[in-house]
Symmetry: C2
Subunit: 519 residues, 2 copies
Amino acid sequence: MVHFNTNCFFAMVRSRRKITARLPCRSKPMKSDRRSTLYAALADEIAGMISAGTLRSGDKLPSLRELRDRRGVSLSTVTEAFRMLEDRGLIEARPQSGFFVRQKLSEPPPRSRPSTTPAAVTVNRRLWDYLQLTRGRQQGFCYAVMAPQCFPNVQLQKLMNEALRDSPTLLSKYGGTRGLEVLRRQIARHAMEWGGRFNADDVQITAGGIEALNLALRAVTQPGDVVAVESPTYFGLLQLFESMGLKALEIPTDPEQGVSLTALDLAVRDGAVAACVLMPNFSNPTGSLMSDEAKQRLVKLLDEHSVPLIEDDIYGEFYQGRERPRPAKAFDETGNVLYVASYTKLVAPGMRVGHIIPGRYRSQVEILKYINTFSTPAVMQLTLARFLESGGHDHHMRRMRRLCTDQMARLNDGLARYFPEGTRWTRPKGGYMCWVKLPAGVDSTRLLETSVEEGISFAPGPLFSARNAYRNYLRLCVGEPWCEATEAKLKRLGELARQQLDNGAKAPFADTGNLFELG
Amino acid sequence: MVHFNTNCFFAMVRSRRKITARLPCRSKPMKSDRRSTLYAALADEIAGMISAGTLRSGDKLPSLRELRDRRGVSLSTVTEAFRMLEDRGLIEARPQSGFFVRQKLSEPPPRSRPSTTPAAVTVNRRLWDYLQLTRGRQQGFCYAVMAPQCFPNVQLQKLMNEALRDSPTLLSKYGGTRGLEVLRRQIARHAMEWGGRFNADDVQITAGGIEALNLALRAVTQPGDVVAVESPTYFGLLQLFESMGLKALEIPTDPEQGVSLTALDLAVRDGAVAACVLMPNFSNPTGSLMSDEAKQRLVKLLDEHSVPLIEDDIYGEFYQGRERPRPAKAFDETGNVLYVASYTKLVAPGMRVGHIIPGRYRSQVEILKYINTFSTPAVMQLTLARFLESGGHDHHMRRMRRLCTDQMARLNDGLARYFPEGTRWTRPKGGYMCWVKLPAGVDSTRLLETSVEEGISFAPGPLFSARNAYRNYLRLCVGEPWCEATEAKLKRLGELARQQLDNGAKAPFADTGNLFELG
């Protein structure tokens, strides 16, 4: 289905008038009820289009004024109709954006219950197989990044040309291990928006967010150390553990509220945990969001036990509401939090510029940068600094957030529509990914092997655990603006899951997401 | 001293005629000896200018034809004069470049004799101090990279603008973990020049040479493993060992011939060595060059013992002679060699594009790239690929090699002229760095602390050993085209060394480069 627009909405509304007229009538209204009949009729009309699928979850409704003008009714009639639809849970107001068809609610997957013992990680082979399988395939729901056309390509290109013109030897200089001061200053300034109080010297530039994670981890761990993580957690992180000889301690995590602080408290008490890596804002893969109060408790808890917190805030800017959620770093008073973020997901994946605010681990992080990639291309840094300075960033991010919100609504709608009974999924308040629990019996890796042949890819659940758990889970990313092809792929994926469920009913396997018992 | 040019040479030659005429004459020649007298006189004249310092090591002489025309003598007279000077060891022919004042010979530092037991590495702190000390200071002899003006900035800038224009979303795409095929193909093609037979799939693109080393090391080692290296070796490599929990086994190394294969043979026989990292071509810091025969034996030896060889060939293109030395990889028939190189030093330090040809470790290296920096900026790769394709690279590298040869000759000359008696240094056949052994009693770290205050930096010897050895050694890099300031800095550095030697004579310390005994 193509993106909904006002004109076609009115066309549809008009074409459906006759049908609505043929619907069973209410009791004939009194004259004083005329207005109430009008708004109720309008509400019914729109409700009918929603139930018929003409209007889908996440579709934007025309504005109150537009509808007033086109239908020749009063503003209050339209307002009442929308209020009625809101009360019936069919539409919702979004701040500064207008009214949208409301998403159907799904029960989220249950809180995870991983093993209480640390595990050596062996996702390497699985990840390799996954990469081979999805390499060069159509994107589908695979990549945790927005589509290329969503980024400010023209602006960046212009800024980069200017940067090269202004500094003719920009490509011939290393640009320093810590990164260009002009960019570090912009990042420090930007952090003020979430309550960060830093100066340029507190910031270390990296080659994207993944290098930032690398450096942070190496700064605070030794091979053999135990590191606490959410469960499920980002597979790249687990893979890092494997390559660094670290053990993962998977902590029970609520797919909406984030990591269990009670469980984390128990885990760090015995002194065996060397560090903790979390994504308090829109975790990958679940999209969970910790409350400010939980973040504060988290920072205090880890500080008390001298366990460094590596906070991956790479999706923090993709919030749906009015305010950016604060990262845990905002509550850090001792420098115990290594804050990791990146402009890769925000401004330009191909520029590969991320950063760390490493708190008290600054010198360790800088020296690790020195030996990991030595420096980050200066032309990228200067271009990005100028983009941030220009104010173009704020405008761009508002657009990105609108896109994400829309795409997530479409995904939610499609999951409700096309996926087998018993499927549960998260409804994150930000980001552009969703963690889906299929009914026990569906093997997401096998599902991928089938679906990828039809150009439908995604990340299967077992990638997100050190112990090959979450076999009937999958992560769906919606980085592409929604289109008919996306809708068709999602529908087909649901069908394939249903087929596997039907075929596998003879030999179902356990729901491994809940196999682990919390001691 | 400014760079010598033909015109001022002739001015000097002319101005010295009278002086030459007043020199004691030879016995009066017969008429048939007229030509031989002429060429001998010319040779003497030039020799006199060399011994007086008017002509310095590395200065280019006028061409045969120029000298013939200006002096009104026959071509054979000039040829004979030059031959005479060559025989006397005063000048040397360089292929396709002409005749140059020959460098004074220094005895190289002795072969190293490090400990035979592996050591955990602790250079971290030393490196950090070094970085703090030299940060933001004038370059001096510190950085192992050519100066920004030596690189093809204008061409690259033009190619980058074109790349961005041709691919408008280049900054918004990851570009793939393995790297752009168009660049990998160019690299494979380029490797044919040294006998490499590869295709694009054999190549992995990295964020510079240092990431390439990282990935190669992680692909073949586990924390706790013992890795054999040259002694002295590149401090970044030792720092990598420290961060990865690897132990360094320093192998005796000849500063001209490279690593001792006899010692390496002994080391790998007991099966305790997990991998070996060497720089057979122009090693950092000594500049040593292994012979083809030694490289062949090396590859065979390590293959027989199933010890992977990581070959760092980052300086291989900076050869002084007519032919590029082949890397050990050219003799690898089993895929046991992980070949590491980079266009960082060759084309553009700020582009950060390196590569590995990882042989049989391809999948391990690719997955490590995936989790280290995910991908290398596509715009850099495309720009570089087009530069290589254009043929601009060959022209550029000829110029770079000429610059390096000149700078190294100047350095050699300055060391002979300004440094204390008993100083020994290497005379590499390529690269732009030199390993200097000062007389016992000079502490290079203390020397740096003093010299850096005067804008003279270099890398002190202890950085190049896992055991804080080489205290009276230093590495000098000459990446800047030589100028009066460089000459003055080198002179001053020699003075400071002499001062320390005079002051420290009361409490000399041992020559730690030779403290270790080979068992």
